[in-house]
Amino acid sequence: MNTPTSLIALLIFPAGLTLVLTGMFYEWADRKLVARFQNRVGPRWFQPFADMVKLLTKEQITPALSNRFLFIGLPIVAISGALTAALYVPLMGLAPAHSFPGDLIVTVYLLSLLTMCMGLAGWNTGGRFSLVGATRTLTQMFAYEAPFLLALLGPALAAGSWQINIINDYARDHLFAISQPIGFIVALIGLMGKLELPPFDAPEAETEIVAGALTEYSGRGLAMFKVGKSIELIVGITLVSAFYLGGLHGILPFLLKTFAVLFLMTVLQSLLTRLRIDQTVGMWWRFGTVLVLAQILFTILLKGGLL
């Protein structure tokens, strides 16, 4: 890979700038869809960009009691985790920039790096709401991480590989949404937990703890966390749609399939009430894990018995 091409691929298209812009576009689509479901108008297309620009122009206030190094560094680590994770998924339907055996695990954990950084940031700022928010963020992470990874494991087992590239190609001929429906549902709901979308938005429950872990963040730090979250949105949706909706090969299938997943998520968002943190954890460890384990068992038997 020669340097100019890889630089362009890294910074402009499909990762880098395009990734950030697409992430914000999907965030807008999510808000607009939820608004239309609630019979409202919703924001205009440039709202997330306007929010970003506004945040970047605002003053960043560092709480006195926090560790300044961590306070400024954590958003940077978070966003770099999200951006790096994007290199291994088939963004825009093109082949991933890098690929090696086991990169599925790396991707998922790079996404979790974002969540962990948010939790740490909340603990670091030390305010009352941030602490409660940080606790909830980390608790929720422990809850959905296992079922989500296991749900992604189903197609991996069927494809016989831990490499996203290979699974993507394998999925082209096998529609896992139909053959592993439970895995699909758990993956979808797991994604909503990972992204802290309602009904799993207890960590940032506005009516209880103001803004959760990010309460004390403002200006650049908050902007970086928000961009990180929209990137996580895109990367997560790409993963789930690549695995379960028949692989992503080409820009048009990418847009259609990721949009379908986004649509499903917004429908679920509008229909369900927020769960309390103990109910979230209880639900995941009781239903989510058990169901997905059953699914994997079934897949293993199927693959071993029939293939």
Binding site: A35, R36, F37, Q38, N39, R40, V41, G42, V267, S270, L271, L272
Partner: protein
């Protein structure tokens, strides 16, 4: 015990126009009884000043220049008025009323005083307010 009880609502809303009123692009006319800004007609006023007496926020001042000739000037503090309508209730000859068209009063200046009356009366009243020249220099 169901999940997603509001599903029919969101399904319907997805295919219908949103309920939001896109003000100021679309403006809905207020109803007939809407209590907007004051409207005063000095030609039927009797100068009884009951409107002034019962105003909860002292938003009206009535200056009687000539009761017999019906020369009145009403000073109305638009910012103090709470649009309750008690002045309208008190007025027997119905010389005071509340507009139902004029209600958009956000402004960039603080000119909240409105003078009602015939133009020559208002001019005469405003003239009487300005101090005589020798007083002005003494300030």
């Amino acid at each position: 015990m169901r999940i997603g009880t509001m599903f029919t609502d969101i399904l319907k809303s997805f295919f219908t126009k949103s309920i939001t009123q896109l003000y100021p692009v679309e403006r809905v006319a207020p109803p007939e009884r809407y209590r907007g800004i004051l409207a005063y007609n000095p030609s039927v006023c009797t100068g009884c000043s009951l409107c002034v007496k019962d105003c909860p926020s002292d938003a009206i001042e009535l200056v009687i220049l000539d009761r017999a000739a019906k020369k009145y000037v009403m000073n109305y503090h638009m910012d103090r008025c709470i649009y309750c309508g008690q002045c309208v209730v008190n007025c027997k000859p119905k010389s005071i009323g509340m507009s139902n068209q004029d209600w958009e009063h956000a402004a960039l200046n603080k000119n909240f005083m409105v003078h009602y009356g015939k133009d020559e009366d208002i001019a005469k009243y405003l003239e009487s307010l300005t101090p005589a020249p020798d007083e002005a220099t003494g300030e």
